[in-house]
């Protein structure tokens, strides 16, 4: 193939034409010389030459690639057609752009969250060491299962046969001083093996080694890339520098590359966990386990290997003299490892699949609509197509032409769609749940673009070929016969459109039902008592007092009290309190076995109870109701009077009622004095309103030998959340001690909204998708009925002329519309009952077959459909018979 000739084929054509003319001239000259008249000579010359067009065409074909040539032709023709029908084009483009845009945006999220959530080499080898403990009552409902203890880590790391490397880690916060103002940073403690398993080399410096976790070894720290850039200006000389982390001097030994996380956890600092093997006990289940498998090892083999090591673990360590090391057998600790990917994605995967499916359905509906538009348009062009076929176009050529037109439509639609996707992605990230992994890195990458192209071609096939096949087929010539006649449509002519409308209605119903279920779920969640009141007026912030700053527990308690007093003095503050955690903040609560004095332990294993530490006034400030008894007092706190509060569900479980609980005594472990239950607190859904409130014990923040050092303050004020108020709060804290960083400043409402983010996000997306589906569906019904009316104008005219009643005619069209809707609804309900079961994990408080939702959705669709068919039906009734028949 000679491309130069291809692009210069017009030039060649002219050149050859001139040459052929030159032949005719010369031949004519010679004929004239032989004595013929000029006309005769010219005729003879032309006869001699033959058909010049044939020769030209032959040469032209030599110069061109037929496929490209036809394609370009069709493209130009298609553009002309689109320009000639601006309304149609605009409607189709808008529909496609929205559909494709939404799909691309959601796919981008799904792609980076579900398909490539881990940025580690060979991520398939990475697993999370999850363990279940069905025998540990109270713990069994914790979805994370039982975390690892340091002694488990040593056992697994040293005895396993399946890991290349394994380690444990835990995240928290740390106060850094010695760089700028004291600040609280996100810190992750890692054991030896974690970085090795993740296998991401440091950007600068080195990893931690086993030597770094020996308690006596020099203290070290690794920085995140962001923190290094931010605080040390990316200075390579920072390696070897000393910074103070929680007032401990640590040497910087490395910097991790940008984007590096431990699973999902973003951090500023990595510090080695330090374990003293001599003092290690069995308990302390506070660490996430992570491992890289040896090649070819299966998850089942890992579970088996860990199960083998658990008895070794219990034989190797103890919980102290007199305790039974094999006590944990009753917990039935069961290894249930899973790929790290699943751990990272978690239940957000369900949401994303539902969203992706939803948006896919919207795309299908959009395609159905465009198909309908194209069907109408192609039908109007039937005669044109017939003429083209009659003058020799092959039907494959016509088919190709029609397809190119839809391809053109979809190409322009895709470009617009990408713009929408770009904007949509920004929106999605703004409203998306905070637990979307790697939220900031989601972007339109080449895979998203490839997906867009795929969707575009697929949809152009879907809606381009249906009309094309229908009208460009070999039966095309029959169209010529009926040319100019407006015969009433046969049932068959409408079949394709009717099927599309039925499908649209069915899909719209499914989406609306899903959206309705999510709205009901959201409602149900809003109705759960959150355990606090008026969250938007509740400012929260977290303050940690490290032992290196204030050592004595008593002084820590006094300092916490003093800060509370300073906060209470801020203008507009009505009450202040503090506790080790606030509801739904995601900070893990401690747990242990709780003994009740009046229920002596008969040797059975006691269930585990969660517990928190609260200061007097916390419940009042937070708006948590005390349902029986009273709150703690400061005198009790400082005087170590052994008093405690419990949650209502715990009181009911142990003593039958809240009132019966007061005056009873409980304690944790053997050495603790019995604490009197002075109050019973309402149930608080600590893990989010969609999870049952756990049984909870509330200890005072200051006990005989212990004080809680990391606490969250709650400050009630109408000014909560405003910048000026946050500033006042910080000044108040610093006036007590200038070295204390204030962290996690947010209102209780923010925390609450975040815990609902997953539901509200799903609801929003489904709501948008559902409304889009409804609108598109209504447009579809409207289009089909009005087209039917337009097609049957002549018939209507005759009917009217023969005396048909207008009302009757109207009814005929409305009924035909409602029949379609009815079939669609029936199909939709059947499909929805099957599909909504898949989203039951996202629902709360209602069944996936909630009859109320179904009834409302069917009613909405029915009314919308009624309107959509009534409007065009009215037009039918207003047809003037005289005018129609004259036009024939």
């Amino acid at each position: 193939m000679d491309w130069k000739r291809f692009f210069q084929r017009a030039h060649w054509d002219r050149d050859r034409l001139a040459e052929m003319e030159s032949y005719v001239q010369i031949e004519t000259d010679e004929n004239v010389a032989r004595g013929k008249s000029y006309e005769e000579a010219l005729m003879a010359a032309r006869r001699k030459f033959g058909n010049p067009t044939l020769a030209r065409e032959e040469i032209y074909k030599m110069n061109t690639v037929t496929f490209v040539e036809t394609f370009v032709h069709d493209l130009r023709y298609g553009l002309r057609m689109l320009r000639r029908a601006p309304m149609f084009t605009a409607a189709a483009l808008l529909t496609l752009a929205i559909g494709i845009g939404a799909n691309t945006a959601v796919f981008s999220v799904v792609n980076s969250v579900l398909f490539e959530p881990l940025h580690y080499p060979q991520p398939d080898q990475l697993i999370a060491l999850r363990q279940l403990a069905p025998g540990a009552a109270g713990l069994a409902n914790v979805s994370d299962g039982l975390k690892l203890s340091p002694s488990m880590y040593f056992t697994y790391a040293e005895q396993n046969r399946v890991f290349q490397s394994m380690g444990i880690w835990a995240n928290g916060v740390a106060n850094v001083s010695g760089l700028a103002e004291p600040e609280q940073v996100r810190a992750v403690g890692v054991s030896d093996g974690v970085l090795q398993a993740l296998a991401v080399s440091p950007a600068v410096g080195r990893w931690f080694t086993a030597a770094d976790q020996i308690p006596q070894a020099p203290k070290t720290v690794i920085l995140s890339f962001g923190y290094w850039q931010h605080r040390l200006a990316g200075d390579r000389a920072a390696i070897g520098r000393i910074i103070h982390v929680d007032s401990v001097a640590r040497q910087i030994v490395g910097v991790m590359p940008p984007g590096f996380r431990i699973q999902n956890t973003d951090f500023d600092l990595l510090a080695p966990l330090s374990f003293d093997r001599g003092k290690m006990i069995l308990a302390g289940f506070g660490y996430h386990g992570i491992a890289r498998l040896k090649a070819g090892v299966t998850l089942a083999q890992v579970n088996a290997d860990m199960a083998r090591m658990l008895p070794i673990w219990m034989d190797s360590w103890t919980n102290g003299p007199g305790s039974n090391p094999h006590f944990y057998e009753v917990w039935k600790i069961t290894p249930a490892v899973r790929p790290l990917k699943d751990e990272v994605v978690g239940n957000i995967g369900d949401v994303l699949w539902v969203v992706m499916g939803t948006i896919g359905l919207v795309m299908l509906i959009a395609c159905a609509n465009v198909t309908n538009l194209l069907l109408v348009k192609t039908e109007a062009r039937q005669q044109e197509l017939a003429v083209r076929a009659a003058i020799g176009a092959s039907w494959l050529r016509i088919l190709g032409g029609l397809w190119v037109e839809s391809l053109l439509l979809v190409a322009i639609g895709s470009i617009l769609g990408l713009a929408i996707a770009y904007g949509g992605l920004r929106l999605l990230l703004a409203i998306g749940p905070a637990n979307l992994p790697r939220l900031g890195e989601i972007s339109l990458d080449e895979r998203s673009l490839a997906f867009t192209a795929f969707v575009a071609v697929l949809s152009s096939l879907l809606f381009g070929l249906i009309p094309a096949l229908k009208y460009a087929g070999p039966q095309i010539l029959t169209a010529l016969r009926s040319m100019g006649r407006t015969a009433s449509a046969s049932r068959e002519r409408h079949r394709a459109r009717n099927i599309l409308v039925v499908a649209q209605v069915a899909m719209a119903l499914i989406l609306l039902v899903c959206a309705g279920l999510m709205i009901r779920t959201f409602e149900a969640l809003r109705n759960v008592a959150p355990g606090f009141s008026a969250g938007s007026q509740l400012q929260t912030m977290r303050i940690s007092i490290p032992a290196s700053l204030i050592a004595e527990p008593e002084r820590v308690a006094r300092m916490q009290n003093e800060i509370a007093d300073k906060l209470a003095a801020i203008p507009g503050v009505s009450s202040v309190g503090f506790a080790s955690q606030v509801p739904m903040d995601g900070i893990t609560t401690d747990w242990d076995m709780i003994h009740a004095q009046d229920k002596p332990n008969q040797g059975e294993v006691l269930p585990l109870r969660f517990y928190k530490f609260v200061a007097p006034g916390y419940f009042h400030a937070a708006g948590t109701q005390i349902v029986a008894g009273r709150d703690l007092t400061w005198n009790e706190l400082y005087g170590h009077v052994p008093v405690v509060l419990v949650s209502e569900n715990l009181a009911r479980e142990l003593w039958g009622s809240a009132a019966a609980a007061t005056g009873k005594h409980i304690r944790r472990g053997g050495s603790m004095p019995w604490h009197e239950v002075v109050g019973v607190v309402q149930n608080v859904p600590e893990n989010g309103v969609d999870e049952a409130a756990p049984a909870m014990v509330y200890w005072p923040t200051f006990l005989v030998d212990f004080t809680i050092r990391s606490i969250t303050y709650v400050v009630r004020s109408p000014r909560a959340g405003s910048a000026s108020f946050v500033n006042d709060v910080q000044q108040a804290v610093w006036s007590a001690d200038a070295n204390l960083p204030v962290a996690s400043v947010q209102t209780m409402q923010d925390i609450y909204d975040q815990s609902l983010a997953r539901t509200s996000f799903t609801m929003l997306i489904l709501g948008i998708a559902g409304s889009m589906a409804l609108v598109l569906g209504v447009v579809g019904i409207y289009g089909v009925i009005s087209y039917a009316v337009a097609q049957r104008r002549r018939e209507i005219g005759i009917r009217l002329a023969l005396g048909a009643q207008q009302g009757q005619l109207q009814k005929m069209f409305v009924v035909s519309g409602l029949v379609l809707v009815g079939i669609g609804v029936a199909l939709g309900v059947i499909t929805a009952t099957a599909l909504t079961r898949l989203m039951s994990s996202l629902l709360f408080g209602i069944s996936p077959l909630d009859p109320f939702t179904y009834a409302v959705v069917i009613a909405i669709l029915g009314i919308a459909a009624l309107l959509a068919s009534y409007v065009p039906a009215r037009r039918a009734a207003r047809v003037d018979p005289l005018e129609v028949l004259k036009a024939e």
Partner: protein, 98 residues
């Protein structure tokens, strides 16, 4: 091949070539002269002949063709092959005279 053979004598334009072939074959090969042009186009595309615009004997603008070195070589190749074929056919058709 016939075109190439004609051009062996020197550059010529379409009209000349057409008539030369017709005469050379003693009017056996009577074709529409127009069909010559696609053939010329194809040969030029292969680079066997080259073209230039010139003036004909009777002062008309005409496109002249000449043989390129590649074309010359091709002519030899084809002529040889043709000869072989003709001889072979000849032997088959009149075996007795040999």
């Amino acid at each position: 091949m016939l075109v190439l053979q004609t051009l062996l004598l020197g550059p010529a334009h379409g009209h000349t070539i057409a008539h030369a072939i017709e005469r050379g074959s003693e009017e056996v090969l009577q074709v529409e002269h127009g069909s010559l042009y696609p053939a010329l186009h194809r040969l030029e595309g292969r680079g066997w002949i080259a073209s230039f615009w010139g003036t004909s004997d009777n002062n008309r603008k005409a496109k002249y063709y000449r043989l390129t070195p590649v074309g010359r070589k091709q002519l030899t190749v084809h002529a040889t092959r043709w000869d072989q074929m003709v001889r072979a056919i000849g032997r088959i058709m009149k075996p007795a005279t040999e």
